[in-house]
Symmetry: C2
Subunit: 233 residues, 2 copies
DNA sequence: CGCCGTTTTGAAGACAGTCAAGATGCGTGG
DNA sequence: CCACGCATCTTGACTGTCTTCAAAACGGCG
């Protein structure tokens, strides 16, 4: 899974690609260059831990490219995935805005590059460009909605949760083809299990069931073809 | 359950009691009076629906007094409580900040008074006093943390979820006494069930179990005495 | 093509859900 | 202030779904 480097925009030749980040969308060329100077970047290999729950990050982390899962670990040692982040998403909002330590851990699902902006610098930036805080807040609202939806789904049976996950990933990572929507799953079976709060065995069984019903087709371990999206709803 | 009207502060004689609201904490007397003029207030009886999921509120609702539950209804008709709100908490943040329709319904648990500030007015206010947005955002971070915690808890068994709920309500609504902490529960058994995502029968059985173990004592349907808070953790 | 990690499959068991009946608490009116 | 009646809560027996543990199959990478 390689990321194409040429994307039309000239600024994307800049190694930090700040312009991709939605929270900076209102800023001009000059400001973006200034921000770029504040940034330190770091690369992570697939499977590497990026941040750990409970620690103090001291700034905001912005995904430059790659996919990252954020998760919490339960008292009995199970992992629960909260989100799958992609390019432009951020980590550490609560630390930045409310001074709280990180409320989740994060791990790279693919090769990943992240940009770090120290807290003090970012607060300055927000004072100068109030739209940045507004953009971040809007994203927080979206996350809140997602978390509320997950809680709502946890009150239902496994099939409904699987359906919701398939619809979500189909929207985010699916490509339409003649036979339906081909989804490149960002998560393994175990990842799916940790995302919807069940065991991997249950995921296997339920997906097989759905395949037998003709709703989906399992292609290897990382691709799912959704034959009919409407049946899922 | 009657709310005392005299609370020491002189401004509290003002019917709207804006000064109680944390998100306006940085404002002076004059601004508070100005805000008060923008406000319409409304009273709700216990059990009344305050807002409905999916509708457009057109502003922010701030609790003046009383207790309110916010909840979503699942596809199969079950209710899942997201939060119990009290004095100073707000409803409709996603509508205000991101233009989204309400993501949850709300119902009064006690007699309740709410203040409504129309969206346009509130956005103006935020432009003049940037701290307001900051305060709201900090509260959003706290809610996000809570929602993440609920998702994490949903991955564990019922006992752990009950423990977490008892600790939370003990902190918020408990009074220390010689025998332990006496908690005035804001929710019925069914409410507790909808809060932690199980059936009311299961709540009954688990609470009884805890009583037999000597951890808690059930006093009627709305009071719980926590003998030893440490055993819960 | 072969090997190792991941996934699937099977059987048995546990936990919470369901349905139904009985008890209790609590607000109401006398 | 007490007694009544309804709503809420408790209790019991049974069922179903998901988990657990173990072994076999698969697929993806070198």
């Amino acid at each position: 899974m390689r990321v194409s480097t040429a994307k039309g925009s000239t600024r994307c030749k800049h190694p930090l690609c700040i312009s991709k980040v939605p929270i900076f969308s209102e800023l001009g060329e000059e400001e973006l260059t200034r921000i770029a100077s504040l940034i330190r970047q770091k690369d992570f290999a697939k499977g590497e831990q990026i941040v750990v729950e409970g620690t103090d990050l001291g700034g905001l982390l912005i995904l430059n490219h790659g996919q990252v899962k954020t998760f919490r670990v339960t008292a009995d040692g199970r992992e629960r995935i909260l989100q799958v982040l992609s390019e432009g998403d951020f980590i550490g909002e609560k630390n930045l805005l409310a001074g709280h330590p990180l409320t989740y851990s994060a791990e790279a699902l693919t090769e990943t590059r992240v940009c770090f902006i120290p807290r003090a610098e970012f607060l300055n930036l927000m004072r100068q460009y109030p739209d940045i805080l507004f953009n971040i807040t809007a994203e927080l609202c979206r996350r809140l909605d997602r978390m509320e939806t997950m809680i709502q789904l946890d009150t239902t049976d496994v099939s409904q949760r699987l359906n919701a996950m398939l619809i979500e990933f189909a929207t985010k990572y699916g490509e339409s083809s003649e036979d339906g929507i081909l989804v490149n799953m960002p998560l393994s079976r175990e990842g799916i299990a940790n995302y919807i709060g069940v065991t991997r065995e249950t995921v296997s069984r339920k997906l097989k069931e759905m395949e037998e019903e003709g709703i989906i087709e399992l292609i290897g371990n990382r691709k799912i073809l959704i034959r009919d999206l409407n049946t899922l709803r």
